[in-house]
């Protein structure tokens, strides 16, 4: 136990990096996922194809492969960015595919008549998506989005493998000094579980507040 308590500052630093990774990449993933969803339900065939290709690509590659490729591959072709930034962008692009799938299932759950009524009033496709279809779709997929958020939190630990000093990397460093893996990694695990529990609490609250009367 003292192995953990003696190194609280390192754990804290690591936790902050993990929180940054989580928050920034979730925000990015949400934005990209929204665009991909709009493309996948658009009336334009080319956009639909691009959206589908995006989702298929990122869902069929392991995140670790993408991280290694970006961190070591991009500098080779002259693209240099900070390690943390690279990790955030890669995780965001990867998780966007999952967010897009969750959102699309929400869009499909909204009855076709809603979009028809919006278009019959003269709203453009974009306007009916934004003001009518997506707000309703979002309400039905709060729980799946919460799951994506939790999975994303856990996936940020892969950034440790390419050198980002997040919570997992911090625990690993402390363990190299103290050689007490059980308390150290149980402690790190509890911190991840706490983030996930908060996410679960928030999604539960949101679902009850925004849940729709039909």
């Amino acid at each position: 136990m003292s192995a953990v308590l003696d190194h609280l500052p390192e754990f804290w630093e690591g936790l902050l990096v993990t929180l940054q990774l989580t928050a920034a990449s979730f925000a990015g993933a949400a934005a990209v996922g929204l665009v991909i969803t709009a493309m996948r339900v658009s009336p334009v065939g080319v956009l639909r194809a691009i959206g589908t290709a995006y989702v298929e690509t990122f869902q069929n590659l392991p995140l670790l492969v993408l991280l290694v490729l970006a961190v070591f591959g991009l500098p080779e072709i002259g693209i240099k960015a900070g390690l943390l930034t690279t990790a955030v962008v890669v995780i965001a692009l990867y998780e966007a595919a999952y967010i897009a799938e969750a959102l699309r299932s929400g869009v499909n759950a909204v009855s076709a008549g809603q979009g028809e009524a919006a278009r019959a009033l003269g709203l453009s496709f974009g306007q009916s998506l934004r003001h009518v279809v997506l707000p309703q779709a979002l309400r039905t997929v709060i729980q799946p989005l919460g799951n994506v958020f939790i999975a994303l939190t856990m996936n940020t630990s892969l950034a440790a493998a390419v050198g980002v000093v997040d919570l997992t990397a911090a625990a690993n460093r402390v363990n190299l000094a103290e050689a007490q893996p059980i308390p150290i990694f149980v402690g790190a695990g509890l911190a991840y579980a706490l983030i996930a529990a908060c996410a679960g609490f928030v999604t539960g609250r949101l679902e009850r507040r925004l849940g729709m009367v039909r």
Binding site: G113, A118, R119, A120, L121, G122, Q136, R139, V213, R214
Partner: protein, 242 residues
């Protein structure tokens, strides 16, 4: 106001509209009746291009109806539509339902949209339901809200696609009353319905469809008293005996 020339429509191999010609004059109320599957709803949906036409021409105010894009959105803004299943926006209050399109499409200010929205809700008799969500209203109230929502765009024409078919019998009257009022105010209307009483009372012209064709068209009294075609006679015998 509306001219349809040689309209054909296929769903796969199924030929749902055969060479349909129809003209609706300004201020005219045309009621389209016919058995299920006769193509009357499809015709109605083709008029604002919710269904694309296979071939043929649709002119609104003498201008060919655009096929897609901004111009199509502009056309739809001028052509109000009321659906069988109401299709009110479930996540918005009744008042917000009525305000959305005028604000987003016509660029009306929020205050102005709210003022006309409340006026229209009062006109269809549901002023006190303004703050409720659609799911909290009865079917008849929802359909009247949907009519108010369409009217908020100040359309040149109103299309009604079986507006009372999803309603409990005791609520049909309140919706038809609103429609009769609209007709009396001179609104140009195309109404697909099974309500023969409404057709008699409010129609300037009745169009009878069967098998994707317009079989007979005429002034309501003449049509109901002495239909010219066997198919119309047959249909009326079935729906009017009860």
């Amino acid at each position: 106001m509306i001219q349809v020339k040689g309209l054909n429509k296929w769903f796969g191999d199924h030929h749902v509209l055969h060479d349909v010609d129809l003209e609706v004059a300004r201020g005219e109320v045309v009621v389209v009746i016919g058995p299920s599957g006769s193509g009357k709803s499809t015709l109605c949906r083709c008029l604002n291009r919710l269904e694309s036409a296979g071939s043929g021409e649709i002119l609104i105010d003498g201008v060919p109806a655009p096929v897609e894009g901004r111009e199509l959105a502009r056309l739809r803004a001028d052509v109000g539509m009321v659906f069988q299943s109401f299709n009110l926006f479930q996540h918005k209050t009744v008042l917000e339902n009525v305000m959305l399109a005028p604000m987003k499409v016509r660029g009306v200010t929020r205050a102005e949209a709210e003022r006309t929205g409340r006026e229209l809700l009062a006109r269809v008799g549901i002023a006190e339901q303004a703050g409720k969500l659609p799911a909290q209203l009865s079917g008849g109230q929802q359909q009247r809200a949907a009519i108010a929502r369409a009217l908020a765009m100040r359309p040149k024409v109103m299309l009604f696609d079986e507006p009372t078919s999803a309603l409990d019998p005791e609520m049909v009257g309140e919706v038809l009353d609103v429609m009769v009022g609209l007709a009396a105010d001179g609104m140009t209307m195309v109404v697909v319905t099974h309500e023969m009483g409404f057709a008699r009372r409010a129609a300037d012209r009745v169009v009878f469809m069967d098998g994707g064709r317009i079989v007979e068209t005429g002034e309501p009294n003449a049509f109901f008293e002495a239909p010219k075609t066997d198919r119309a006679r047959d249909f009326l015998a079935k729906v009017l005996t009860h």
